[in-house]
């Protein structure tokens, strides 16, 4: 884990509210790991690491002042990382993701044999080489017609996680979880996730968990 100072190189708009942010600096990380980045808000926010156009990159969904600042104003961004555990699996996998995980998908593709399905609520503004689905209906249709994979990794909204868990029952499914994070390093205990083995923490035990480890009520 390092203290980081990242220089924004450029931003690319993916859909209505999501941007890819490219950095000048290289970071040595494993796919699945994340960084905590500083914004004008009081608490740093987590962003999953990945690549775009051969640069270290994150995807940012603009939700409020902090994320807007990263996309529109920031030049240099302070942070710390890489954090959390990387993910690596043999066999062929399917990534089911929201647009905020496009850069992570690039990182996974470099190391693993994976197909990608990207579900978005609003139309895409850039061409993508992946299977895409706009809106719930198309997403469900495409989810039903995917072939068989050795494993699945879902990273998107709670709604997307639930739908996929029901749909892929009995299969080896992993989830990259989101929870509010204060520190990203196991100090503050804000990112609790209740698992069958008791409380775990997204930042240090995750962010990726096996579906059957989680309590789904």
């Amino acid at each position: 884990m390092e203290r980081l100072l990242l220089t924004k190189k450029k931003t690319i708009r993916v859909n209505e509210d999501t941007w890819i942010v490219l950095f000048e600096e290289r970071i040595d990380f494993s796919p699945g790991q994340f960084v905590m980045l500083e914004t004008p808000k009081l608490v740093r926010k987590p962003f999953v690491l990945g690549y775009w156009e051969d640069h270290t990159a994150i995807s940012v969904q603009v939700k409020g002042k902090g994320t807007k600042w990263i996309v529109e104003e920031a030049e240099k961004i302070k942070g710390h990382g890489p954090l959390g555990n990387g993910f690596e699996k043999p066999g062929k996998g399917l990534l089911i993701i929201s647009p905020t995980c496009l850069t992570m998908a690039e990182a996974l593709r470099k190391k693993m044999n994976v197909d990608v399905l990207v579900g978005s609520r609003t139309p895409f503004q850039i061409p993508l080489e992946h299977e895409t689905a706009v809106g719930d209906e198309e997403f469900l249709r495409k989810l039903s017609s995917t072939g068989e994979y050795d494993w699945y990794l879902v990273s998107g909204s709670r709604g997307m996680e639930k739908v996929c868990w029901e749909h892929l029952r009995g299969k080896e499914v992993y989830f990259s979880l989101e929870e509010y994070m204060g520190c990203g390093i196991g100090a503050c205990k804000s990112c609790a996730v209740f698992t069958k083995e008791g409380v775990k923490h997204v930042c240090t035990d995750g962010p990726i968990f096996r579906g059957d480890e989680l309590c789904w009520s």
Binding site: M1, R3, E38, K41, L42, V43, R44, K78, H80, E179, Y180, G182, C183, I185, G186, A187, C188, K189, S190, C191, A192, V193, F194, G198, V199
Partner: protein, 270 residues
Amino acid sequence: MLELKPPLVLLSGPAGFGEYLKLMDHRYVGGVLLKTVTLHPKEGNPTPRMADSDFYVINRIGLENPGIHAFVENVPELPVPMIASLGGDSFEEYLEVARVFKKVADRFHAVEFNFSCPNVKEGGLSIVKNAEEWKKLLNTLRKELPDSFLIAKVGVEGIFVEDAAEFVMKTGWDGITLVNTVRGLHFEKDTMILGGLSGPVLKPIALRAVYEVKKRFPELFVIASGGVYSVKDAEEFLKVGADVIGVGSALFKDPGVVEEIGKYLLEVKR
């Protein structure tokens, strides 16, 4: 006396069990106040457990911790002085926690007792509400840990800080940490978070608390806790008499600020 160089601590909770030290030059950290440990392990509250706004951080972690037995078996090894933080849900639990802690007391520069966590049902805040009972507890804990530098952490709810400080002095304790978080309510979309406020909103409250206590009891050792985000904040707490500057929520924004404040304190408090 508790001599910390610089007189700066990372506060209980945000500092965890010292994880942030990996991001800092240790020369600028006087000590770490570890996360509060209770008699029994605690799982903590449901999520969301924290939120932030422009002026405050709110948390309802609910004292998630491994419990005192696991803690004494596995005391952290940190490169800077450690202060333990102990809590309980009742008179008996505070006493029992102190008894178990005794075995490892010599590994710590001081012990803070948390009498002000707003996020647990019993103990915490409610213990100070009954002044006589609390005084009895302070006396009992003092006898139980005769050789430790004892610090009471109190907030501004349930008791006036001046009164709390007087009890702390009279029962032979060594110091007081002012203040803990103040109970607040925050809406995160439609979810209500009932938790403790920390961060910038707490600074004027903490400054006043330190000021009032130091005016009455200049000899009482005071750790300042509330809204320190910059060298200027630290300077203000020194002006009202704080002996040690505590940094908590600011770690979540920029752990780098600790080095700036530490450097400043090394200079003015040589």
